[in-house]
Symmetry: C2
Subunit: 347 residues, 2 copies
């Protein structure tokens, strides 16, 4: 049995999108999945009743796999994280994450205030030993296979040591959730030569080169992300600071539909039809990005997440739980080198 807590009040489209997303997830994912909807009971019950009486009329049988967890406070998108956590201890965000820490739920999904979700996850779930910061892991489509890019926005100024931590965390994630047995890690920079990059990246390059347990490819450039490979070969994980990663992620999210629109127009095609046929470019396909490095599954979704995005984020939370990713990251960081047998072959 798996149980995922969903923030019913998180996001621009809440409570409808999170609650509808929970129903979609229950319909599509294995029978032993249960979902906790966290928020004000009255609001959730009313929305659920409306959905089951209308658009989701066929899904009433799923109601028994849904629980409502009362949380009277709501953290707004504009609330400062610290203020929200101090003042709104009975919010859906705080109580949802607390259920993961207490072992009542195996993961938490929210499209609410990202800063507050990071702060609450840090405070309540806490970091693994050996880490100084968590990282947001996002999946980028490429011409080859999807790659994990981290950090996508949890840390704006990163020390070299933090970039090395992201390489370790990313290695475990790619093993556990992307099915890559020996993930290859690239460091995002502005040239493939080790001496290219900003101060933090140049030092991180030297550290990664010497790091056991990391299959370090070297620097990768912006164009390599789209290709999914550098001249030296393909990669599974791209490490960067959260400022660069967030700018890139949002640039991608804006650029892909723009180009699809332009190409469709030039070819006289319907851009919606085109976008629908290009599943691999769909930003909603992964639905949510895990906050990696904390001792529990906390999935961060876009503020404007649709029901479909929430459904996919719940699937990510479920896979993260079932893969044992959180414990694996902890082992990789504390015991050191689960795959040290390979590191001896590095040049």
């Amino acid at each position: 049995m798996a149980r995922i807590a969903v923030d019913a009040m998180g996001g621009d489209l809440a409570p409808r999108a999170p609650i509808a997303g929970a129903l979609l997830a229950l319909a599509a994912l294995p029978q032993d999945l249960h979902i906790d909807l966290v928020g004000p009971t009255g609001i959730i019950e009313a929305e659920l009743a409306a959905l089951l009486a209308g658009e989701y009329a066929g899904l009433a049988h799923l109601r028994e796999r849904l629980a409502i967890i009362e949380a009277p406070d709501v953290i707004e998108m504009t609330d400062k994280p610290s203020v929200a956590l101090r003042g709104k201890t009975n919010s859906s965000m705080v109580l949802g994450i607390r259920r993961v820490a207490d072992g009542h739920a195996h993961g938490f999904v929210s499209a609410g205030n990202t800063g507050a979700q990071m702060a609450a996850s840090l405070m309540i779930l806490r970091l693994h030993a050996g880490l100084t910061r968590p990282a947001i892991g996002t999946i980028f489509p490429t011409a080859l296979q999807p790659v994990l890019v981290l950090d996508a926005g949890a840390n704006v100024d990163c020390a070299p040591d933090e970039l090395v931590q992201f390489a370790r965390i990313g290695t475990v994630y790619a093993q556990a959730l992307l099915g890559r047995p020996e993930p290859v890690v690239g460091l995002l920079s502005i040239g493939e030569e080790p001496e290219k990059g900003n101060t933090a990246v140049k030092e991180a390059h030297q550290r990664l080169r010497a790091e056991a347990g990391i299959h370090f490819l070297g620097n990768v450039e912006g164009r390599d992300i789209a290709r999914g490979r550098a001249d030296e070969g393909p990669f599974d994980v791209v490490v960067c600071d959260g400022f660069v990663g967030n700018v890139l992620l949002k640039f991608y999210e804006g650029l892909a539909p723009m180009i699809i629109g332009m190409v469709s127009k030039a070819a006289g095609l319907n851009p919606h039809d085109m976008a629908a046929s290009l599943k691999q470019l769909d930003a909603e396909a992964y639905g949510g990005a895990p906050l990696l490095g904390v001792k529990g599954v906390s999935i961060i979704c876009h503020g404007r997440s649709s029901a479909r995005a929430i459904h996919n984020a719940i699937a990510v939370a479920l896979r993260a739980h079932e893969s044992g990713m959180v414990d694996a990251i902890g082992r990789k960081l504390s015991d050191g080198l689960p795959d040290a047998s390979h590191s001896g072959t590095a040049a």
Copy 2:
């Protein structure tokens, strides 16, 4: 009369692409344009003879507007900039830039070693007073109109003051070369709120807000670049450090053809036909990126520039010269506020 010096030995496709590009430019641009081909005379004469006897047979009448400037040394792509400049003072790169400094040419175009071109431009042309670093200005297509993004790779670690300098330089460039009378400047960050961003960006935001002569929109995000506008309105210039700008530029250059290819395939169309019909997404359309802030026109091209890219870069050099951009940047930086009449209306 205008005269542009072209590095005949610069780039992966030299000497053919630069020499062919010069012929294309002479054929397409006004009659009073003259071009200096800088490099080893024997090599240039042989390549020119081959082109005029073959693919460019119809262009022999343009020969009289071409001069060959002897430069026996060649800076390789792998040379360290400092070593190249000390050891190869008779290189096409150094002698070409020197012609601009001496007033013999109005601009220089090279697809050679970018680091060496930056170093030689700084050493020989020198920076305008008031600047500590130059910036590479690149044009990004958007859903609205093209925008100038700077810096795209000249500076990897930028102080807040340097980001403010880029805003001033970019304002003049957008006026002079993009025809925007009152350019609006955005600061690339990870959220629109002033408190979002890394340390340098947060301080630059406050400085830009107080800066007279800059029409500062506020922060813009990655997705806004593709849209060409933030929620507050459209913009003409995006300021960022050279690490982020270079990663973004290369990501765009890799992603655009990848998406065009995927959409074309999904629609059963020829990707080359599609790319050809999408002129606004063509990275070669601008051909070269000016090194902004030095006292002379120095245009940096991709190492793998085609003849067409060189032709377009020569057009950029010509427009930069004719617009008086270099002097205008100097005035903006030293005298202060050429458009102070507008700054009084800023909030």
